[in-house]
Symmetry: C2
Subunit: 387 residues, 2 copies
């Protein structure tokens, strides 16, 4: 195993009926005025908004609202949040929503203390030294943002979808009540599952090897696969919802990355171009990119891809035959649960590939870890992904 530091200070409160605890958790830490950040209104339809507001009131917390955060969250909304937070002198941010809302909250939290352009932080030109404290109520399990220190945001004008990490943006407290996800559309459940699997695989296929880490990773993926199938049968299956929610959290809270090589993250980088340019769900983009990337790079560590095929899908064929079969079954499974698995499936044609490649390469080359990727490699991967 590689050396690592595991230090995740987030307090995660998990389970049915836990949302009313949010007010006292904020008050306990001495904050009196929060920015309440949310998305496009689903929390008003599923009752989460009401529960949050009454918990804030019961704890005498003042609250300034900002709504309208979109999936693939935009920098313009982050800037609006920074401005509003400064004007209103809020002391903390309460993000109520999925990964896009929490990620936006993280960007607002560091932007609050930075006088320059917030985009500098995404470009690595400025490293945040401070952030407003963040509290979250999660309404969609996928990104793991409720218990990690990363955020991804898209710049409106340039459609660059970039990320930053900072130890200062671990949420202080996150509340995960899986029952509020009963009403998620099936496709959002599926994309959340695929995002979770992708987080595990970014580390699993980063060139490192560790028996305990491989075991934990494969276990999470198998659990996510079986849980997804249960939820497509019955979206109100609490046992399945809670297993999915906890799987998504542990997939990216430091556990799966411990002792690895920092992850590969090529699939995420390539996908970010897709969701930035075509505004598709991140999970949908990952379903398209992952099998293509796997096909392109497996020769760099065939044993790990063979192991994946065997341990996750029970494939007994060895060597290349098993590897190819594993990737094919993985792709087929994502298709069966309703994800697009090729550029064609989302209406993108081969002629559009150069534009996607330009977007991917904007942050420079090479990137990746298991295999360093250059422009020509990304082109080749997208060609494999086209059908």
């Amino acid at each position: 195993m590689e050396n690592f530091i595991f230090h995740n200070p987030t307090k995660l409160i998990f389970g049915k009926g836990t949302i009313p605890q949010i007010g006292s958790e904020i008050a306990k830490q001495g904050y009196r005025k929060v920015l309440l950040l949310y998305g496009q209104g689903s929390i008003k339809r599923n009752g989460v908004y009401e529960r949050v507001i009454s918990s804030l009131k019961e704890n005498d917390l003042q609250c300034v609202e900002l709504s309208g955060v979109k999936p693939n969250p935009l920098l313009s909304k982050v800037k609006e949040g920074i401005e509003l937070s400064s004007k209103e002198k809020v002391e903390a941010i309460l993000a109520v929503g999925g990964g896009s809302v929490i990620d936006s909250a993280k960007a607002i939290a560091v932007g609050f203390y930075y006088s320059g352009d917030i985009w500098d932080i995404f470009l690595g030109k400025h490293s945040p030294e401070k952030a407003l404290p963040i509290f979250t109520v999660l309404t969609m399990s996928a990104t793991g943002s409720e218990m990690n220190c990363g955020a991804v945001v898209t710049k409106d004008e340039t459609l660059e979808k970039y990320s930053f990490v900072s130890e200062h943006v671990y949420p202080r407290v996150s509340i995960v009540d899986p029952s509020v996800q009963f009403t998620l559309p099936a496709e959002q459940t599926v994309y959340g599952a695929i995002d979770t699997i992708a987080h595990v695989l970014e580390y699993y296929f980063d060139g490192s090897d560790s028996e305990i880490q491989n075991e934990l990773s494969e276990g999470i993926i198998r659990a996510v696969i079986s849980t997804t199938e249960r939820l497509l049968q019955n979206p109100k299956d609490y046992e399945a919802r809670s297993n999915m929610a906890w799987s998504a959290t542990v997939a990216l809270n430091g556990l799966t990355g411990a002792g690895r090589r920092g992850g590969d993250w090529s699939c995420h980088r390539i996908e970010h171009a897709l969701s930035a340019l075509y505004d598709i769900a991140h999970g949908a983009g990952l379903a398209i990119v992952m099998p293509a990337w796997m096909k392109y790079v497996y020769t760099s560590k065939p044993a790990q891809f063979e192991r994946f095929a065997h341990k996750v899908f029970g494939i007994i064929e060895k060597g290349e035959e098993g590897i190819i079969k594993g990737i094919a079954i993985f792709k087929e499974w994502m298709k069966q649960v309703g994800a697009p698995v090729s550029l064609e499936d989302i209406g993108v044609e081969e002629k559009d590939i150069p534009k996607i490649v330009d977007n991917v390469m904007a942050l420079g080359e090479p990137f990746g870890n298991l295999r360093m990727l250059y422009r020509k490699d990304v082109e080749a991967i997208l060609k494999i992904a086209s059908l």
Copy 2:
């Protein structure tokens, strides 16, 4: 899944060559004078002591030493530590050793702020509100104490081996350098492995059920089994040492207990009587108790025991046949790697059972979770364990 809170604030620094970081980690948090607590001198033989001392010096930290903590650590030493810490006005405790040293440090840390008898805390008569900050350098992986908030200590006069948990005793920083375990005697490696498996099983067999938690638990156990075998072949196999060390940490840092029913802990309770009375290693006692307990209680949730047999040992027989076979193979495996697996193996006879039962029952009855155990049940389990 059951509702739960996951909140583990310990910063774990893991890997080769990390021990020299301890001084700066303590200094960074503003402490200037520490109690350096350790065991019976192995850290002077394996070079850990020197590395710790020079790191403390480099960071201008004052240090008061207290050594002589034994396996199955004694309350008298804890009291000595409390007295010394008060007299010397230390600001933090640095525990360098295995679980017994770290557990003693936790007891000293809360005892420092409690004017009554420290044993009150173990009896649940007093709940600590404060503790000295704890830092650790782990030299033997087993108890997971480096990243949790529990401690077990034995009262010298009465041979009661009791525990307490308090959120105030999570170590601030723990350093785990698996390479310092190269020189552990084989039996200590084995007992550490068995303790790790026991921690996983206490939660696995607590009557709860969760696909993701079952997957993570089975993965840890399989990894520990294969890693133990590698270490018996080559104690200096760093890859195996690091896998074992991380497995031991995650087995009891909150991960395996998430969404469960708090664990069963009957095997630990019964074992504590054995190690208190006969001063055997905790892992040795667990190897004796676990298979007997499993045989006695499996009818309370046969599906989980069948799953254990199948997922951990690949047993294909269903129902009772598979369950019994699974328990037998588990016992046989522990025997093969060198653990005692019956009371007979440690020279305890059937006529001694009443004395053991008395010790077990001193904290009252019933206890347990999957099955509530009374005096007669403990007697029956120890009878099964006798051969």
